[in-house]
Amino acid sequence: MSNISNISNIFIKTENLCFSYDNDGEEKVPAIKNASIEIEAGSYVAVLGHNGSGKSTLAKLLNMILLPTSGKIYINGRDITDPEMSEDDMFEVRRQIGMVFQNPDNQLVATVVEEDVAFGPENLGVPPEVIRERVAEALETVGMTAYARHAPHRLSGGQKQRVAIAGIIAMRPECIIFDESTAMLDPVGRKEVLQTIGRLNREAGITVLNITHYMDEAVLADRVIVINDGEIYMDGTPVEVFSQVDKLREAGLEVPQSTELLFRLNALGYEFAPGILTTDDCVAAILAKLSRTE
């Protein structure tokens, strides 16, 4: 995107990031411990972890809803833990990193879809004509143009969540964090939202962080980061991460059924390559094994 060659394409970088919640003067509970990660611009990262593992806390640190206890966070090369950061700088960070939350009802502010989508750009002081363009474009991107004049509370969960995504896109962010955005949706709604996320990443080049505990969502990402008890527990491609079934279970997570089947066959001594994730790959691997003997 940038034509200045010496800017690295690391979009998010944290160094020894720590955060503790203040527990009414009692002992502080560390939620994030010494986390150092680098996330490249344009990548699609799934962040996995059980409830209370600290994954949502991490998201809130990245767009300055929470401020770290210690450690550094760089967004687009800018140190956002710098005490010199002005309020304007903070809102610029929030513009760059949009957030979509779990409950679609609690993030829609307006009673008409298009007015809700306009909320972010209005806050940024974008001129009215430009807001109109952006709203139309954002609704188009999430496939909700036909609902522009509808009342959000009459939409399905998946549709509401797509409106919420449109509201973020209209701010022209470089990165969007999905904080368990599919957890309250039915399978149809989940599919709609995941397709939208995939398209944003591929076609608009938006960096995606999908915080989830659904393994089948993690499989869609380029990279999987597992957080356990506030620490970076695993980090790699989906194949690398899902090949370590026992380690994932220790962190309270599961693997897709295909991976589990082959993992258990392996344990019985039938040798399969580790980390097979999709239905098709699993079927192909088993059929290949059978044909080799014939």
């Binding site: 809803i65 809102f91 609690n106 993030q107 502010v109 009673t111 750009p121 973020i168």
Partner: protein, 273 residues
């Protein structure tokens, strides 16, 4: 069911009234309230009733919706009617039993007051809630009252709070329904027993509702911050408010209407309130 409550809900549309500037609609509402209270003659009430029917017609809001909107205040209406019927003294005695006296004037007064309440509720809800989206309304209020900013009134914040409250009415109504069902499933009874026990029966609804509203407010605040909300300063609007010919026309019509009602009050024969 609670879900049927339509009071305070916006119905998107393209009618003449929908397209009026929200400031105009606020002004018209104020006019309408003044007109309703200045109506005295039975003829001005007839005109008033006719006007509200016309307004509903122009707004293209269905009569069913309007009726559902009135239903929650039914008890208040019945109560005032009874008061008027029994407490109005007049000349034409229709019914007399012990100390109860019902006069013809009482019945007419009761009917006129009923018209007044219906017109008041329907008129204001058609102008303010049914045809004006909360954001437009907030915009209207904010601009109309912006001179008050100079004396330190937080006009924007108040307007925003109001619009959010309106946005969450349907959500919280649904939530109330859900919680009521959940407690009914545990054998809670909301419809029998003494007044005290009925009030006590509300606790299992009110507390979860309060807890949930608080959680929603917290999540909403974070979501708004994430969308760079920082109060009214530097904020632009997608829809710019501009007065059009339509707005002046509507205000003009209302001025005529007010004048007509006053003239009818003075010159029309027959019963006067």
């Amino acid at each position: 069911m609670l879900k049927d409550i339509t009071l305070g809900q916006f119905f998107p549309g393209e009618s003449y009234i929908h397209r009026l500037d929200p400031r105009t609609k606020i002004i018209l509402t104020v006019f309408y309230i003044i007109i309703t209270f200045s109506a005295k003659s039975i003829f001005s009430f007839a005109a008033l009733f006719l006007s509200v029917v016309m307004i509903i017609g122009i707004s293209k809001i269905s009569f069913k919706t309007i009726i559902r909107g009135i239903r929650p205040v039914l008890y208040i209406m019945i109560f005032t009617m009874i008061l008027n019927i029994f407490l109005t003294n007049g000349e034409d005695l229709l019914f007399h039993w012990k100390f109860i006296k019902i006069y013809k004037e009482g019945i007419i007064t009761a009917l006129l007051v009923l018209v007044r309440i219906i017109v008041l509720i329907t008129g204001t809800s058609v102008f303010i809630t049914y045809t004006t989206s909360p954001i437009q309304l907030t915009d209207g209020i904010e601009r109309l009252f912006s001179p008050l900013k100079r004396i330190g009134v937080p006009v924007h914040d108040l307007a925003m709070m109001m619009s959010l409250a309106l946005r969450f009415i349907p959500t919280l109504i649904e939530e109330t329904d859900r919680i009521m069902n959940a407690q009914k499933a545990r054998g809670a009874d909301f419809s029998t027993g003494s007044l005290a026990s009925r009030v006590r029966a509300l606790i299992p609804i009110i507390i979860p509702l309060f807890v949930s509203a608080y959680r929603r407010a917290e999540e909403l605040a974070v979501a708004m911050e994430c969308r760079c909300y920082r109060g009214g300063e530097g904020r632009t609007r997608m829809k710019i408010l501009t007065y059009g010919l339509n707005d002046f026309f509507a205000i003009f019509i209302f001025l005529l209407f007010l004048a007509a009602i006053i003239l009818i009050n003075i010159y029309a024969p027959g019963f006067k309130l």
